[in-house]
């Protein structure tokens, strides 16, 4: 499948790399290709700059948000929550229409320091805001509840014995995203309902952040025991 991954950070790299490994034709989308390829410093938490990552992933191409999405059959939103709508706007409504968006963004607000708060919650969610801004996009909220390494390689923890969630208004789009998650190795994908259920998974982040602090690692996930 032709897939556009929007975002060049740790999450975008993890998704793009794994999707390419699974045989998909992956284009990473960024705001400014030249600026992205000029980066030489690791990000704030030590991940390599995009050019270093790209050098080891020669089948993955880099393009603008618009170019990346133009021919994509599926789009992955791996941008920071605070710039997600801007990135999709830059992609252009015509390039999004009718396509499935796997939205893994979280509405984290770091303006008050760590731990971040949420810039939308409770009566709305970032997933809903994206769906409302781009009505022709089939938004499926997923993978926003675990660290990037486990999103794409769940079997690295407890043989994959943990849970992930999908939420969205389009049943077929959820089937498509669920199949992708299963291809990554997820064995317990729980359908929470329509896109308003993104409120649930986004509002889990404050607990996730405190668990990371308490366990001193991001390498954990929830199993919904039932």
């Amino acid at each position: 499948m032709k897939i556009a991954v929007l975002g060049t950070g740790m999450v975008g790299q993890a998704l793009a790399g794994r999707l390419a490994e699974l045989g998909h034709e992956v284009t990473v989308g960024t705001r400014d290709v030249a600026a992205t390829m000029a980066r030489t410093e690791p990000d704030g938490i030590g991940n390599p700059p995009f050019p270093a990552w790209a050098a080891t992933h020669p089948t993955v191409t880099l393009a603008t948000f618009a170019e990346a999405t133009a021919n994509a059959e599926l789009i992955v939103n791996a941008t920071s929550g605070n710039v997600s709508i801007a990135a999709l706007t830059a992609a252009g409504t015509d390039n999004l229409a009718g396509k499935v968006l796997l939205d893994m963004s979280n509405p984290l607000d770091y303006s008050g320091g760590f731990p971040p708060t949420l810039f939308v919650k409770d009566t709305d969610s970032l997933g809903e805001q994206i769906q409302a801004a781009f009505p022709d996009l089939k938004v499926v909220k997923a993978l926003n509840t675990l660290t990037a390494a486990l999103m794409v390689n769940p079997h690295h923890l407890a043989d994959g014995g943990h849970s992930v969630f999908v939420a969205g208004n389009d049943a077929d789009a959820k089937v498509t995203v669920t199949a992708l998650l299963e291809a990554f190795g997820h064995t317990d994908v729980i359908d929470l309902g329509n896109i308003t259920s993104a409120r649930g998974t986004e509002m889990y982040l404050p607990l996730w952040l405190r668990l990371m602090g308490s366990l001193n690692t991001p390498f954990f996930n929830l199993k919904v025991v039932r």
Copy 2:
């Protein structure tokens, strides 16, 4: 131990019954004893009225919030979140001072229908509001993340192989509450840190509510796999 359980609903009944079963001297606290004992109808989701429950639990006594807390060594807040501060105010500051409060309340706001929203979140929590209102109380937020039956009998699901959390400012109070949770049968009690971590567990409720809808049962819980 002499324990006061504030609240006569499903959660209060579950806690009081289990604590009595474990040999504790339990007094249930209510606003108006006569009114509570005059109830003859099940609650909105079919739980028996308090008098019917009390008839089968003869060692548990009923008293006002103030009477129940006066001689208690430990207090359990099992009231609805929207009346928790009023119930503790009715108990009286003198009856609370220096004591441990196991606070299992959630700030659920049903005024907009189902699923409820939260009347405090993100930059504050009900646990913190209670701690701020009663500075001499040692508030430990716990057990607000699972259904009452599993709070007190975790082994009824997956042999108890799931997780619960404690959050609070007083280390000794967390030790006391953790011991109580372990007496119930919990084997994975995760200390999230100080009372601000109550934001994490209270904000999990929107996901819990959607999981309940999706799984069509409240009989589930999280295991933090790591």
